[in-house]
């Protein structure tokens, strides 16, 4: 395992959350730096790592703790992959709408910690909207839980949200509970190739029952997924009049990634103009969400320009994967958020010694 050119001094593969917390606490007490590792699908995310003493793997935390079909909830350990968990849920006609790019092989904990999302976010939101509980190992060796296993909960601060997208900078997610979703009765994939694909995508997004996913690629292709009752899907499909495509398009699409890869997130109405200005490279976009992914041989100047435009539009450009050199030249995250000072104080409260992935996160 190599992260930003560094190899870890040692690898820990605890088999229980308690052991993981202990390993983290021990390493932190010894002044070692720890990088949580899930499926290893997003290790390039963030600024270049400063030190790498311990790789703390969740690969043995793969149990499903509770699957309650009639409650539409599931709890699982962090190291289970999305594919494994969704296979189990599929057995009872349910699923978790988490479909990050650079699949397969993402773990549940990895997706939550990195805040990755995919096309289905259009309909289901990001995991932020359906995580109902988390268990997190903290650098002081303690395990802290937030939320619970019920679908509605306002008991105490919503720390579930704080840890999501925090790239393990406050603690290591060891287990999560989710509200799950029934598999749609009917699910149809349609596509069109158009001269003005953005206009076609917009038309799909404005349907009385919008698609659950709508993606647009640089070659002018629009791929949408209509889901729901048979009559509803048929009516929407008829309104669009596009040709049917195989469902495998989505798994192919979710494999997209690259060694150099940036994510542009802006208010949806601003996305088209930004993407139009991208100097070269390949891209794909979720126009209804406001996210575009940009890959290719990205040079520092192009990244700076595209980032300036994204930030000008009220959004961001984050390097999801890049060479250490490029990350050092332009930074992974871009301009610091206005609340950076508060975020640092929160980090201080959880990881004062910067044990967790030093140098990598915004704080």
């Amino acid at each position: 395992m190599v992260v930003d050119g560094l190899t870890p001094g040692r690898v820990e593969t605890p088999s229980t959350p308690e052991q993981l917390a202990e390993a983290l606490g021990t390493a932190a007490a010894a002044g070692e730096s720890v990088v949580p590792v899930g499926g290893g699908r997003a290790l390039g995310l963030g600024d270049a790592l400063e030190r790498f003493d311990v790789a703390l793997e969740t690969s043995r935390l793969t149990r499903i703790l509770e699957m309650s079909q009639a409650d539409l909830t599931v709890s699982a350990e962090a190291g289970i992959t999305m594919e494994e968990l969704n296979a189990e849920l599929g057995g009872v006609g349910q699923f978790l709408p988490m479909d990050p790019f650079n699949s397969p092989g993402h773990t549940v904990g990895g997706v939550l910690a990195t805040g990755l999302s995919g096309p289905l976010r259009l309909r289901y939101g990001s995991p932020r909207d359906f995580v109902i509980g988390l268990r997190v190992a903290l650098p002081d060796g303690r395990l802290a839980s937030s939320g619970g296993r019920v679908v509605k909960n306002v008991s105490g601060y919503d720390l579930n949200k704080l840890h999501q997208g925090a790239l393990g900078s406050l603690g290591v997610i060891v287990a999560a509970s989710f509200k799950v979703f029934p598999r749609p009765l009917h699910d149809v994939t349609l596509e069109t190739v158009a001269e003005d694909p953005w206009r076609d995508a917009e038309r799909a997004l404005r349907l009385p029952q919008p698609p659950v996913a709508a993606e647009l690629t640089r070659d002018g292709r629009v791929l949408v997924r209509l889901a729901g009752s048979r009559v509803a899907v048929e009516r929407m499909a008829a309104e669009l009049g596009w040709s049917q495509a195989p469902a495998e398009r989505w798994s192919d699409h979710s494999r997209r990634a690259s060694e150099t890869w940036a994510r542009i997130s802006v208010p949806p109405g601003r996305l088209r103009a930004l993407v139009a200005e991208l100097p070269g490279g390949d891209w794909w976009a979720s126009p209804g969400v406001g996210v575009a992914h940009w890959t290719g041989d990205l040079d520092p100047e192009s990244v700076r320009l595209a980032r300036a435009a994204a930030e000008q539009a009220g959004g961001s450009l984050v390097l999801m994967a890049a060479s250490v050199e490029l990350k050092r030249q332009v930074g992974a995250w871009g301009s610091p958020p206005a609340t950076l000072d508060w975020m640092r104080r929160v980090r201080d409260a959880f990881d004062p010694a910067r044990t967790l992935s030093p140098g990598r996160y915004v704080t």
């Binding site: 009639a70 805040g115 802290a144 019920v150 008991s155 105490g156 949200k161 009385p208 704080t363």
Partner: protein, 479 residues
Amino acid sequence: MALPRSVLGELRRIVGDRHVVHEPNDLRIFERDGSISGAVPDAVVLPGDREEVVAVVRLAARHSIPVVPRGAGTGLSGGAITLRGGIALQLSRMRRIVEIDPVARTALVEPGVVNSDLQQAAGRHGLFYAPDPSSQKACTIGGNAAENSGGPHCLYYGVTTNHVTGLEMVFADGSVAWLGGDAPDRVGLDLLGVAVGSEGTLGTITRVKVRLLPLPESVVTLMAAFPTIESASHAVSDVIGHGIVPAALEMMDQVTIGAVEAHYRAGYPLDAGAVLLVDVDGLRETCDELSSEIERLLRLNEATGLRVAADADERELLWAGRKGAIGALGRIRPNYYLHDGVVPRTRLPDVLRRVTEIGEHYRLPVANVFHAGDGNLHPNILFDLRQPGVMEQVEHAGEEMLRSVVELGGTLSGEHGIGIEKNAFMPWIYGPDDLDAMLRLKRVFDPTGMLNPGKIFPDPESEPRLVARAGFCAEARWW
């Protein structure tokens, strides 16, 4: 304890003479919220804009005066009670809908905007704001965000936190920050996610940006009567278990039906053990298909008297009964104590059985009117405060009900907040390390503990027991 004259003078200078309340008789109006665990504030200050909020908070920080933000005072967990005195920061003057963007489908509002006023404004653009607490005719968007409020239609659409995209917050030190934003995937920690539902303990909300949704093409409202609350609970589990998540799925028991019918004549059958109210929305075709499938499942579970609202008027009437149910309970007893526990949906029959037993044991009438689809109970313990010793019985009954909820894998509150009503019970669901993780945030944002002190967390300065609380139904017509 009255504030020093100099402080009152400064407050008046900040917000204007008219907007500082400090006469004892006037202050009593702000003694309570939706509960009666009252405490009189030392002053009530009504700021007109963010700058005034900042100035008041800075002044309070300089003098170590507690600050408690307050919206419409409809909260049910004591969140707006000035437990340690200090300043009640009454935000109702800040009630401007700043902007509705029909293309981006967002609204930017000041915290004092009333939920149903936003609904109306959004409706003019063919849009709606999904969270619909039963108090929506009075409660404010700022209060909704602070409490992470729910409502019947949160079953499908999610609660407030799923619809707030940004907040402007004034922190304890008087600094201001915008949390969140219009773009997805904000860089850095999700402070917005923590701020929503923080019950005024981390900062004062001065603006809220929310997502609006297009009004559905069609809505079908079904009302079904059941012989027992048990059969109705099984019907709920069956619908959800079949992978059907309707827009709303509400239950009322026989006690509630009686009170509601006397008041609203909504058409709920008086001889039913329980009534389910179901909303299905979306495409016309989807509504037809889903509602007939739901009908089938309800009938399989002994539903009788199934009725589909013929038009908007009938739908509104059926819902008026539900939304006004708690007010109508005043016909049975003048006071109520309303709980908000949540259980995994399949445990509804078990928990309702326990609730009934506990009510019988204490000889207190209990009316259940709740978000069955979410497993979110609202048992109302009905009583008359004038009856000597009754409060203690009510407290014990409530505590036992919550205990049952927790024993069945549930949580203390689904949408009303913890406040001072359930903070003593937080150790039932969170261990010391869990609570410590939450308190780390409190210490970051409010190191001196001046913002809404004594809330959410077990409070060593209060007796670790329930204090008297009950809402006069007459004041609570809108629930």
